[in-house]
Symmetry: C2
Subunit: 103 residues, 2 copies
Protein backbone atom coordinates (compact mmCIF):
# COMPACT_ATOMS: atom_id res chain seq x y z
CA UNK A 1 0.00 0.00 0.00
CA UNK A 2 1.04 3.64 -0.45
CA UNK A 3 0.53 6.65 1.77
CA UNK A 4 0.48 9.72 -0.52
CA UNK A 5 1.02 13.03 1.24
CA UNK A 6 0.91 16.55 -0.16
CA UNK A 7 1.62 19.80 1.61
CA UNK A 8 0.60 23.23 0.31
CA UNK A 9 1.50 26.82 1.04
CA UNK A 10 -1.12 29.29 -0.18
CA UNK A 11 -0.80 32.49 -2.12
CA UNK A 12 -1.42 35.55 0.11
CA UNK A 13 -4.85 36.27 -1.36
CA UNK A 14 -6.36 32.89 -0.42
CA UNK A 15 -9.27 33.26 2.00
CA UNK A 16 -10.80 30.96 4.64
CA UNK A 17 -13.82 30.60 2.35
CA UNK A 18 -11.53 29.40 -0.46
CA UNK A 19 -10.09 26.79 1.89
CA UNK A 20 -13.51 25.62 3.06
CA UNK A 21 -14.71 25.27 -0.53
CA UNK A 22 -11.54 23.35 -1.41
CA UNK A 23 -12.00 20.94 1.50
CA UNK A 24 -15.59 20.26 0.50
CA UNK A 25 -14.53 19.67 -3.11
CA UNK A 26 -11.66 17.36 -2.11
CA UNK A 27 -13.87 15.30 0.22
CA UNK A 28 -16.53 14.95 -2.48
CA UNK A 29 -13.78 13.97 -4.94
CA UNK A 30 -12.31 11.35 -2.60
CA UNK A 31 -15.72 9.77 -2.02
CA UNK A 32 -16.09 9.21 -5.76
CA UNK A 33 -12.64 7.79 -6.58
CA UNK A 34 -12.69 4.09 -5.62
CA UNK A 35 -8.91 3.79 -5.62
CA UNK A 36 -8.74 6.11 -2.61
CA UNK A 37 -8.99 3.80 0.42
CA UNK A 38 -8.49 6.50 3.07
CA UNK A 39 -8.40 10.25 2.63
CA UNK A 40 -7.93 13.35 4.69
CA UNK A 41 -7.57 16.97 3.57
CA UNK A 42 -7.46 19.81 6.06
CA UNK A 43 -5.74 23.00 7.12
CA UNK A 44 -2.47 22.35 8.94
CA UNK A 45 -3.18 22.25 12.68
CA UNK A 46 0.15 24.01 13.19
CA UNK A 47 0.81 22.26 16.48
CA UNK A 48 4.34 23.43 15.67
CA UNK A 49 5.29 26.50 13.56
CA UNK A 50 5.25 25.64 9.86
CA UNK A 51 5.10 27.25 6.44
CA UNK A 52 2.59 24.59 5.38
CA UNK A 53 -0.98 25.91 5.27
CA UNK A 54 -2.79 22.78 4.18
CA UNK A 55 -2.17 19.09 3.67
CA UNK A 56 -3.74 16.05 2.08
CA UNK A 57 -3.09 12.41 2.86
CA UNK A 58 -4.44 9.44 0.93
CA UNK A 59 -3.93 5.70 1.16
CA UNK A 60 -4.07 3.69 -2.05
CA UNK A 61 -3.28 0.07 -2.85
CA UNK A 62 -0.39 0.65 -5.26
CA UNK A 63 1.27 2.94 -7.81
CA UNK A 64 -1.36 2.19 -10.47
CA UNK A 65 -4.16 3.20 -8.11
CA UNK A 66 -2.24 6.34 -7.17
CA UNK A 67 -2.02 7.24 -10.86
CA UNK A 68 -5.74 6.53 -11.30
CA UNK A 69 -6.43 8.95 -8.45
CA UNK A 70 -3.99 11.69 -9.46
CA UNK A 71 -5.03 11.51 -13.13
CA UNK A 72 -8.76 11.23 -12.39
CA UNK A 73 -10.94 13.92 -14.02
CA UNK A 74 -12.41 14.74 -10.60
CA UNK A 75 -8.92 15.42 -9.23
CA UNK A 76 -8.11 17.57 -12.25
CA UNK A 77 -11.37 19.46 -11.72
CA UNK A 78 -10.36 20.34 -8.14
CA UNK A 79 -7.11 21.77 -9.50
CA UNK A 80 -8.94 23.69 -12.23
CA UNK A 81 -11.63 25.08 -9.89
CA UNK A 82 -9.68 25.53 -6.63
CA UNK A 83 -6.07 24.48 -6.07
CA UNK A 84 -4.60 25.86 -9.30
CA UNK A 85 -5.16 29.49 -8.25
CA UNK A 86 -4.47 28.93 -4.54
CA UNK A 87 -1.10 27.19 -4.47
CA UNK A 88 2.14 29.07 -3.99
CA UNK A 89 4.17 25.95 -3.06
CA UNK A 90 3.49 22.20 -3.10
CA UNK A 91 5.52 19.26 -1.86
CA UNK A 92 4.31 15.70 -2.27
CA UNK A 93 5.69 12.28 -1.48
CA UNK A 94 4.67 8.65 -1.33
CA UNK A 95 5.55 6.27 1.51
CA UNK A 96 5.24 2.50 1.30
CA UNK A 97 3.05 1.21 4.15
CA UNK A 98 1.80 -2.24 5.10
CA UNK A 99 -1.94 -2.86 5.00
CA UNK A 100 -3.52 -2.15 8.36
CA UNK A 101 -0.23 -0.96 9.81
CA UNK A 102 -1.13 2.68 9.71
CA UNK A 103 -4.20 3.65 11.75
Amino acid sequence: MILHIAQFTWKPEVTAADVDALTTALEQMAAQIPQILSYRAAANLRVRPSTTDYACAAIVADADDLAAYLDHPLHKAVYDQHLGRMVAERAAAQLPIESGSFA
Copy 2:
Protein backbone atom coordinates in the same frame (compact mmCIF):
# COMPACT_ATOMS: atom_id res chain seq x y z
CA MET B 1 -6.09 11.87 16.65
CA ILE B 2 -3.35 13.61 14.63
CA LEU B 3 -1.50 12.54 11.52
CA HIS B 4 1.91 14.26 11.63
CA ILE B 5 3.75 14.35 8.32
CA ALA B 6 7.22 15.65 7.50
CA GLN B 7 8.94 15.88 4.14
CA PHE B 8 12.68 16.32 3.69
CA THR B 9 14.98 17.33 0.87
CA TRP B 10 18.59 16.25 1.44
CA LYS B 11 21.84 18.10 1.06
CA PRO B 12 23.76 16.94 -2.04
CA GLU B 13 26.37 15.03 -0.02
CA VAL B 14 23.86 12.68 1.66
CA THR B 15 24.48 9.03 0.72
CA ALA B 16 22.24 5.96 0.53
CA ALA B 17 24.09 4.64 3.59
CA ASP B 18 23.19 7.81 5.50
CA VAL B 19 19.54 7.29 4.60
CA ASP B 20 19.58 3.63 5.63
CA ALA B 21 21.15 4.50 8.97
CA LEU B 22 18.56 7.24 9.48
CA THR B 23 15.67 4.88 8.76
CA THR B 24 17.01 2.34 11.23
CA ALA B 25 17.41 5.03 13.87
CA LEU B 26 13.93 6.45 13.28
CA GLU B 27 12.29 3.03 13.46
CA GLN B 28 14.14 2.21 16.70
CA MET B 29 13.10 5.63 18.05
CA ALA B 30 9.43 5.13 17.13
CA ALA B 31 9.36 1.73 18.82
CA GLN B 32 10.48 3.33 22.09
CA ILE B 33 8.14 6.35 22.17
CA PRO B 34 4.76 5.14 23.45
CA GLN B 35 2.91 8.21 22.20
CA ILE B 36 3.63 7.15 18.60
CA LEU B 37 0.69 4.90 17.65
CA SER B 38 1.71 4.38 14.01
CA TYR B 39 4.93 5.36 12.29
CA ARG B 40 6.51 5.16 8.90
CA ALA B 41 9.75 6.73 7.67
CA ALA B 42 11.11 6.00 4.21
CA ALA B 43 12.61 7.40 1.05
CA ASN B 44 9.99 9.00 -1.19
CA LEU B 45 8.83 6.37 -3.70
CA ARG B 46 8.66 9.18 -6.28
CA VAL B 47 5.71 7.63 -8.09
CA ARG B 48 5.47 11.17 -9.42
CA PRO B 49 8.38 13.64 -9.84
CA SER B 50 9.09 15.44 -6.57
CA THR B 51 11.78 17.43 -4.79
CA THR B 52 11.05 15.47 -1.62
CA ASP B 53 13.71 12.84 -0.91
CA TYR B 54 12.29 11.37 2.29
CA ALA B 55 9.17 11.50 4.42
CA CYS B 56 7.94 10.52 7.84
CA ALA B 57 4.37 9.99 8.98
CA ALA B 58 3.22 9.38 12.53
CA ILE B 59 -0.16 9.01 14.18
CA VAL B 60 -0.55 10.27 17.73
CA ALA B 61 -3.57 10.70 19.97
CA ASP B 62 -3.42 14.49 20.41
CA ALA B 63 -1.27 17.61 20.47
CA ASP B 64 0.23 16.76 23.87
CA ASP B 65 1.36 13.38 22.60
CA LEU B 66 2.78 14.99 19.48
CA ALA B 67 4.81 17.32 21.70
CA ALA B 68 5.97 14.37 23.80
CA TYR B 69 7.18 12.69 20.61
CA LEU B 70 8.79 15.73 18.99
CA ASP B 71 10.46 16.82 22.23
CA HIS B 72 11.52 13.30 23.24
CA PRO B 73 15.28 12.85 23.84
CA LEU B 74 15.28 9.95 21.37
CA HIS B 75 13.85 12.21 18.66
CA LYS B 76 16.42 14.87 19.48
CA ALA B 77 19.15 12.24 19.28
CA VAL B 78 18.11 11.31 15.74
CA TYR B 79 18.44 14.96 14.77
CA ASP B 80 21.81 15.26 16.48
CA GLN B 81 23.20 12.04 14.97
CA HIS B 82 21.54 11.98 11.55
CA LEU B 83 18.94 14.47 10.34
CA GLY B 84 20.66 17.66 11.47
CA ARG B 85 23.50 17.27 8.96
CA MET B 86 21.35 15.75 6.18
CA VAL B 87 18.46 18.17 5.80
CA ALA B 88 18.47 20.94 3.19
CA GLU B 89 14.69 21.55 3.42
CA ARG B 90 11.92 20.35 5.73
CA ALA B 91 8.16 20.84 5.62
CA ALA B 92 5.89 19.43 8.29
CA ALA B 93 2.19 19.54 9.02
CA GLN B 94 -0.45 17.98 11.23
CA LEU B 95 -3.83 16.74 10.04
CA PRO B 96 -6.73 15.93 12.34
CA ILE B 97 -7.94 12.37 11.72
CA GLU B 98 -10.63 10.22 13.32
CA SER B 99 -9.52 7.11 15.15
CA GLY B 100 -9.54 4.11 12.81
CA SER B 101 -10.48 6.24 9.84
CA PHE B 102 -7.05 6.22 8.31
CA ALA B 103 -5.73 2.75 7.42
